[in-house]
Symmetry: C2
Subunit: 360 residues, 2 copies
C-alpha cells in the first residue's frame, strides 16, 4: 500500500467544500470538517475523511438532513434531550456538548442525550471539548449492529464507543476513547486487504464459533464484545455496550439494539423502528465542582508520571497513557501532513468529480 | 466443600452485632450490614460477610474509624466532594449516594466524589439506590493495587469496579456491575482451593508472561485488565480502570494508583501518600430529566425482551441481561437462606468468640 501525504489545510478545505455542496451551512460545513479532520490528525484514520463518501451516500439516500432544526425537546437545570432532526452527527453532537458545557458552567454538571442523529465521528472530539474549559468530558454513541452479546449469534449492538476526557497540567489530557467491542471493524478491513488471518477472539462465525477468518463478518458472523469470551469477561464488554445503548437511545428516544440504522447506505433501516435515528450521550462536569483545578491537575500529572515510569515488560515499550498516542500524532501530522490510504484518495477524487469541485 | 445455609435474618443480625461491637452507631451498623447482606443475597459471595473479618482487622489496625464525621468539603449545585473521615466505605458511600440523589431531585443530576474512605462493598448496592427514585445510578471505587496496566509488570491499579443501574418497568433493573480486570481475585481463590489451573489471560507472572498458575499473584505476579492482552483490548480495560481511579481519587483527594491502601490489614500503606484513604465516585440522574419515566421504562422493557429472546448459541444458555442473575439469586436466597462457605462460617465463629456475642 502507498500512503501519499496531504497538508491538513488541503484536506480540511476540500472536506468543507463537500459538506457545502451537500447543502450544509458554512458554519456546519466548517464544524463537520473539523470533527473529521480531528480524527485524521489524531491518527484514527478509519473515522476521518475515509468516511466522507459514506456520509455523502447516506445524504443521497435522504437519511441525512443537511439543514436540520436541531432543538432541545426536554430539559432540567442539568439534563436535556436534543432532537437532531436527522442532521449529521458531526454537527448534532457538538450542539449537545455545547449545551452540556453551558449547564456545567452554571450548575456544576450537564448531561445531554440525543436522538434522531447520525454518526458523530470520534467520541474523543466531543469529550475533549469539555477539557478546554477545565471540565471532565464524557461522550458515547450507539452504532450500526455488528456485535453479538455473549451467548448469541445475533448482531444486536454497535461497536458503541465511550470516551472519558480529563484535563492535565504539564501533560496532554488523559483521553480514554474506546469501542466496547474486542476489536473495531477497521482492524478486520486491514487484515482483509493484507490477506491475513485475525487473532481468535475478535469475531465469531454465524454459528457462534471463534474464528481467525477476517472475512467472517461477510458470511453472517459477528464481532465480539470486549473480553472476547465469557471466561475472559465478554459479559463485561456486553454490559458496557448495553450502557452506551441505553444512555444514548433508550433515554433519548433514538433507535437501540438491532434497530440502529446501518451506516452503510446500501442497507435499509429495519421496519417498525422503536425510535428516531441513532443516539448519543454527552456530558461535562466542572473539575472545580470537586476540588481546585490546580490541585486536580497536579495530581493527574503525578498519576501520569507514575504510570508512564512503571517498569516495562519490554524495555522498548513503556506504558501508554490513554490519549497520548493521539496527542503525539496530532502534533506530528499538523506539522508534516496527513497520510491517506490510496483507496481513500480515490474516493475523494470521485467526490470531487461528483460535486464538480477541485480535488486534493 | 460444604455450604451450610443460614437464614438472611440470622446473618444480618449477627453482622449488625459485630459492627456495634466495633463501635458503630446502631444506624451505621444496620446500614453496613445491609450493604454486606445485599452482596450475599445477590450471590456475590466474595463481597459479603466473607469480608467481615477483613473489616475487623482493618479496624484493629486503626485504619477504620467507626465513629466518623462524614462531611461535605466542597460543593456546587450538582457536584460535591465528601470526606469519609476514615469511616467504613459501607456507610460513607451511602452518605455520598444520598447526597447525589438529593441533588438530582433538585437539579436533574448529582455527582459526588469521595476521599478518605474504605472499601464500600458491591458497587451495585450504591448504584441501585438511585433506581428506587426512578433515577439512573452510577457507582465506582478504586481498590488495593493488584492489576498491571498493559505493558508493565507493576501492580498499579485495583480491580476498580464500575456500575451503571437503570430502572425498568415489568422487568428487574438493568445493573451493569463489573470489575475492570479480566477476572476478580475471588475467581483465583476458588481455583486455588480446588487445586485447579486458571485460564490464560487472567494473570501474568512477575516477568510479564501469561500463566495458568492460580498462585501466580503470590509470587509477584499481577492480575490483567479486561481484554487480557494488547491484541484483545487490554488497553481498554486499562482505560476503564484509569477512569475509575481518576474520578474516585484524583478528583476527590484520595489515594490513587499504587498508593491505594491495601485491604488486607497485614500490609501497611506505602509511605508519602498523595491523598487520604481510598476513593469512590457516585452519581444519579433523573430519568424524567430526559423523557417521561413511563416511556423510558417501556422502551427498556422492550430492549430487555429483544436481547433475552436473541437466538442462543447453546439452546440451554440464553442471553443474560446484566443484573438479572443477581436479582434471581436475591429472590431465591431471601426465601431459602444464604449458603456460606465453611471457611467463612469458621471466620464468623471466631468473630463471635472475639466479641463475646452469640454465633450464627
Amino acid at each position: 500500500m502507498n500512503f501519499p501525504i496531504f497538508p491538513e489545510k488541503a484536506i480540511r478545505s476540500f472536506t468543507e467544500s463537500v459538506f457545502i455542496k451537500m447543502g450544509c451551512s458554512e458554519e456546519h460545513a466548517v464544524l463537520a470538517a473539523d470533527v473529521l479532520l480531528a480524527s485524521d490528525l489524531r491518527g484514527i484514520d478509519s473515522h476521518g475523511v475515509a468516511r466522507l463518501s459514506g456520509y455523502v451516500r447516506l445524504w443521497e439516500k435522504q437519511r441525512i438532513n443537511t439543514s436540520p432544526n436541531i432543538r432541545v425537546v426536554h430539559e432540567t437545570a442539568t439534563t436535556a434531550t436534543v432532537d437532531g432532526d436527522r442532521g449529521l452527527g458531526l454537527v448534532v453532537a457538538p450542539f449537545a456538548m455545547k449545551l452540556a458545557i453551558e449547564k456545567a458552567r452554571q450548575y456544576g454538571s450537564g448531561w445531554v442525550s440525543v436522538r434522531n442523529s447520525n454518526h458523530f465521528g470520534i467520541a474523543g472530539y466531543h469529550a475533549t471539548e469539555a477539557v478546554k474549559y477545565d471540565m471532565i468530558g464524557f461522550a458515547m454513541t450507539n452504532a450500526s449492529p455488528l456485535v453479538a452479546p455473549t451467548f448469541t449469534t445475533e448482531r444486536l449492538l454497535g461497536t458503541n464507543p465511550m470516551c472519558y476526557a480529563f484535563p492535565a497540567g504539564k501533560h496532554a489530557p488523559v483521553v480514554v476513547d474506546m469501542a466496547t467491542a474486542a476489536a473495531a471493524n477497521g482492524k478486520l478491513e486491514i487484515a482483509q486487504r493484507a490477506g491475513k488471518a485475525i487473532p481468535e477472539g475478535w469475531v465469531q462465525t454465524k454459528t457462534g464459533e471463534s474464528t481467525s477468518d477476517a472475512h467472517a463478518l461477510k458470511t453472517g458472523g459477528s464481532l465480539l464484545t470486549l473480553g472476547s469470551d465469557r471466561e475472559h469477561g465478554s459479559h463485561k464488554g456486553f454490559g458496557l455496550s448495553a450502557t452506551v445503548d441505553i444512555l444514548s437511545a433508550v433515554l433519548s428516544g433514538a433507535n437501540y439494539g438491532p434497530w440502529v440504522p446501518p451506516f452503510v447506505a446500501f442497507l435499509d433501516p429495519l421496519p417498525d423502528l422503536p425510535g428516531e435515528g441513532i443516539g448519543h450521550f454527552v456530558g461535562a462536569m466542572r473539575v472545580d465542582g470537586f476540588r481546585p483545578v490546580d490541585e486536580f491537575k497536579s495530581h493527574l500529572d503525578n498519576w501520569i508520571e507514575r504510570f508512564k515510569s512503571a517498569k516495562p515488560i519490554d524495555p522498548e515499550q513503556p506504558v501508554v497513557i490513554p490519549g497520548e498516542p493521539e496527542f503525539e500524532a496530532e502534533k506530528e501530522r499538523k506539522l508534516n501532513g496527513i497520510p491517506l490510504d490510496e483507496s481513500v484518495v480515490k474516493d475523494l477524487k470521485e467526490l470531487a468529480r461528483r460535486f464538480g469541485i477541485e480535488g486534493l
